[in-house]
Symmetry: C2
Subunit: 237 residues, 2 copies
DNA sequence: CAGTGGTCTAGACCACAAT
DNA sequence: TTGTGGTCTAGACCACTGT
């Protein structure tokens, strides 16, 4: 059973996505939602505020709630779209992974810091090439602690690590911190992403957390510059 | 008079920032906050949830609220840090602007779409170089509608457009949608940002909105690849 | 079990906008 | 004045965690 605010959120979000609520149009006011969904104003407001924080709507005292214009570019993949899923779920076609390197190394100070383990503790060292529709898109360097995420194998890597963690290990992935930057492409990028010297990558550094607050994955994804963007929305408070 | 949840939020956030609440430590539980600030649980929870959405803390049923590790790199400027301010306010030293081009053009279809005006309506066409501590950092191409933001002059451009809009025009800036990507540096970048051919830029495309929901600024900021990052935090729901 | 957060209610008063 | 959202209360019940 989903929370009531989630039901309302889904109703509004789907309406925005499928065009029932068009760009610029006014959404039902809170009291209307309250009577339709038999809830209190606080519950309705929570659903609306989630949409505000996603940048899908804005709300004005005395006026109402309105659908914001969408910002979409269909030729590229937005990193935010991936959210906390693996790439496998994108709407951009069939994706697969090619494992280039898979082994154990001793954690450097930086890796240890990010994963909240001790320096020189063993960590998985995984380098994968992400391929969508048979075209190389992303080189992904991943570090994970075997103490936290045991039993990683080649088979797991060829599928989604994330679904292994959630379905096989029964752990919950809760959140991720991402930092992106532009970088000059290196030899690996040239070889695997088929980039020329002058063509850069969009590197996304990520620390992903389980729902117990423990960081379980530290990764660097180097995306082809022409195929990826990275979006965000900020509201002033 | 600040809202009560904001007072609580500031109290917790300052405590995290100044080290009163250390990384990994447990924050006061809701009932403690309620009695200290004489508020209801809903109000305390709102403050905590804001910190969750910023990625500063996490909360677990049955356990409590805990401070997350910070991700900070002091050598570079994070675009999120700028938030909705001009660069003038960064903690990275004295900043100024050099206006390279300032005039009016007719809106292309793309500009008109983003600013929600008609094609061929006049728009300000502004190109500025951002300089921090006498080093070039960012080339910023800005489009704004004079119908919405009148009276832009060279003087305004040398200061902050944002403070002009808020203080002189009395308008409120509410939110911004940003998309970033890596790009090959062009001739302008080479000339003004002192980049070599092979060195890329981090381009951030932004649409900024007033609190009446109207987009007032459409801009492209091309940052030196070695001096800027772009951060975000996402929580699974 | 007690401690803690997640959700929800049924009101209340206020601020702001349009008429 | 009416419609709308912003904030807040004082409870309630539930779910999860650790002892």
């Amino acid at each position: 059973m989903s929370a009531k605010y989630k039901v309302i959120y889904d109703y509004l979000r789907n309406g925005i996505t499928d065009g029932t609520f068009k760009t610029g149009s006014k959404l039902p006011d809170e009291l209307t939602i309250c009577s339709e969904f038999n809830c209190s104003r606080m519950t309705a407001k929570k659903a609306y505020d989630m949409l505000v924080s996603e940048g899908l709507i804005y709300r004005r005292q005395g006026q109402g709630s309105f659908v914001l214009a969408k910002q979409q570019d269909l030729d590229v993949i937005d990193v935010q779209e991936r959210q906390l899923e693996g790439l496998s779920r994108t709407s951009h076609g069939r994706s697969k992974s090619h494992v280039i390197r898979f082994g154990l190394i001793f954690a450097t100070k930086e890796i240890a810091d990010k994963l909240n383990i001790n320096e020189n503790d063993p960590v998985y060292d995984i380098l994968r090439l992400r391929i969508i529709n048979d075209k190389p898109y992303t080189l992904e360097q991943t570090y994970m602690s075997p103490a936290l995420i045991p039993g990683i194998t080649q088979d797991v890597l060829n599928e989604s690590i994330y679904s292994y963690i959630e379905n096989e290990l029964g752990l919950k992935i809760a959140s991720a911190q991402k930092t992106s930057r532009a970088d000059i492409s290196n030899d690996l990028d040239h070889e695997y992403l088929k980039l020329k010297d002058i063509e850069p990558v969009l590197e996304v550094e990520q620390v992903a957390y389980l729902d117990n607050g423990k960081p379980f994955e530290y990764s660097f994804s180097r995306h082809r510059y022409d195929l990826f963007t990275f979006s965000s929305y900020s509201v002033r408070r």
